[in-house]
Amino acid sequence: MQVTGTVLTTRRVDAYHALTVVAPGIAERYRPGHFVSVAVGGPYTSMVTRRALSIHDVKSDYGGTVELVFTVRGAGTAWLAERRARDTLDLVGPLGRPFPLPRDPVHCVLVGSEYGSAVLFPLADALLARGCRVDFVLGGAGAERVFGAMRARRMAETTTLTTEDGSLGLRGKVTDALPSVIADTRADAVYACAPMETLRAVTAVAMEFDIPVQVAVEESMACGIGVCMTCVLPVIGDDGATRMVRACAEGPVFRGERVRFEDVGTIPFDALGAPGGGARHVS
């Protein structure tokens, strides 16, 4: 659904911007892992595409609010960073396939890098509500780019932090720390949100431990609602065939081992409908 929400609060969280927006309909339908798409630039803007942002939090005040956490990358996020309380924001959501939750009270490791961590906190809440054990591995380039360390510490059994410059926690990447966390916590499942390269490595680790891994991917999106076909990546289906599927509609959450990370940005020769591919006749 589309909502013209009012910005309630804006704040800086370390290197990130956080916006809380009143958006009752979206908050109500929300599940952890959902994202929204935000119109940027105001009236008469030259920016025609929306920006996809994960929902970091929903609250019930004012009929329902959503919180977005983002980093300034280009013109659209720069505009968003200038929003102030009482400005209006045009959101479409909740979008995408949320994180599937385990039926049983299992042990889960939640792995987040940079702003990717933001989407994991409501997931952690949902897991805790089901009696799961939650452990966090959060990382970033430097201390101020590790999002949510404090909150993680309050919620989780353990929280492991990594930074590439060593300014906070272990020096290195989240995937450097992950194996020992999985081993120590006897984890049954991994959830991750991070850049594609990191998700690939997280998936490799989880597969090594032979435990399921759910990853939330990020692909350039023009519509966010499944109609433009710009956000595709190669994913293996239940039938074993690779298809170019939409990150916005079939994702952004996928089972890690199903995503052909090494082929992202290409059309694998054996994908359904690949040019000249024998796979043409699979369907």
Binding site: Q2, V227, T230, I267, L272, R280, S283
Partner: protein
């Protein structure tokens, strides 16, 4: 007083002039989550190809000033799956459906037409001529009147007489009227214009083309002036031919420009990416603009801007002030 928004694509009546643009509404189901598809004048499908197609590698899109580039490469399930899963879903619900087809040879377009000839639920057939012609070194059909005409003639001969064949034209030509004329002479019942002009963006960080496919189709408000011009020129030359105006329509006012230039129906593409309800909003805004200007029927506005200077706009019963666009 409500405005009569009905329009005709050849002999086929549509309840209103607004349709989705080909390739911008996927299978239709995605938009159905947002609104009742029956409220569209028609739904235009993505361009269906013979074989399933995985499309082009990513990145497939880049934003440009008031526009975007796309290089999707006609990703889709192929005609088989379309006939099995997508068309029946639309047909069962009685949604007016313009089926778009794309091919690499005249034979492929013809085969697609054959497969669709007896399928229930095809309101009209739109022939996407912006596909590379494999038999002419990949030159796009729409850029060569005679190649375009050959496709249309063959498709027209195959489709049932009561299913209009719409030729979809591209603006990247020296003379759109001559391509339009060639298609009409070959039997096209209507024309749709414009498909995306070819554009390109370069990523100034990576120092490479922004799109994996290097070039891509430009869409969005940036191209509205090109669409208005093409519709105008073709309507002036072929006033009897129904035109679907497409290109950069974001508001009812944009749609109204195309109508005044000569379009009897209007396709909405990129706007859907920004606003899933765009078609409904645009229809409402267009009706409001017509009403405010005293039009009782959409049909009276079609091509009206062509009337010679000085002649009175006879359909204007009231001339009300308009607020900020």
């Amino acid at each position: 007083m409500s405005v009569d928004m009905r329009t005709f694509l050849a002999h086929v009546e549509l309840a209103n002039p607004i349709t989705t643009a080909a390739g911008c509404a996927s299978s239709g189901r995605e938009l159905a989550q947002f609104f009742d598809l029956h409220r569209l004048g028609a739904l235009t499908t993505r361009s269906i190809t013979m074989a399933p197609r995985a499309g082009r590698p990513t990145p497939r899109m880049a934003e440009t000033p008031s526009g975007m580039l796309n290089a999707v490469g006609l990703q889709g399930p192929g005609i088989e799956a379309f006939l099995e899963r997508e068309l029946p879903w639309l047909a069962q619900r009685g949604i007016k459906t313009i089926v778009s087809i794309g091919g690499g040879t005249v034979a492929e377009y013809s085969e697609l037409a054959r497969r669709l000839a007896d399928a229930p639920g095809v309101t009209a057939l739109e022939v996407n001529l912006s596909c590379p012609n494999m038999e002419d070194r990949g030159r796009v059909f729409a850029r060569e009147g005679s190649a375009a005409a050959e496709v249309i003639a063959s498709v027209r001969s195959i489709m049932r007489y009561d299913v209009p064949v719409v030729a979809k034209l591209a603006p990247d030509v020296a003379d759109i009227v001559s391509v339009a004329r060639a298609c009409v002479d070959a039997g096209a019942d209507a024309l749709s214009m414009i498909n995306n002009p070819l554009g390109m963006a370069i990523d100034t960080e990576a120092l490479r083309p922004s799109l994996a496919a290097v070039t891509g189709g430009l869409s969005g408000p940036a191209i509205l002036p090109l669409a208005v011009r093409c519709v105008w020129q073709v309507h002036a030359a072929l006033p009897g031919v129904p035109l679907i105006g497409v290109g950069g329509v974001m508001t009812g006012r944009d749609a109204f420009q195309l109508v005044l230039a000569g379009a009897c129906a209007v396709g909405v593409g990129t706007a859907l990416f920004h606003d899933p309800y765009a078609c409904l909003r645009i229809e409402r805004e267009l009706e409001e603009l017509l009403r405010a200007r005293g039009f009782q029927r959409l049909a009276d506005a079609v091509g009206l801007a062509h009337r010679p200077p000085g002649s009175a706009p006879r359909h204007l019963l009231v001339d009300t002030e308009e607020s900020t666009p």
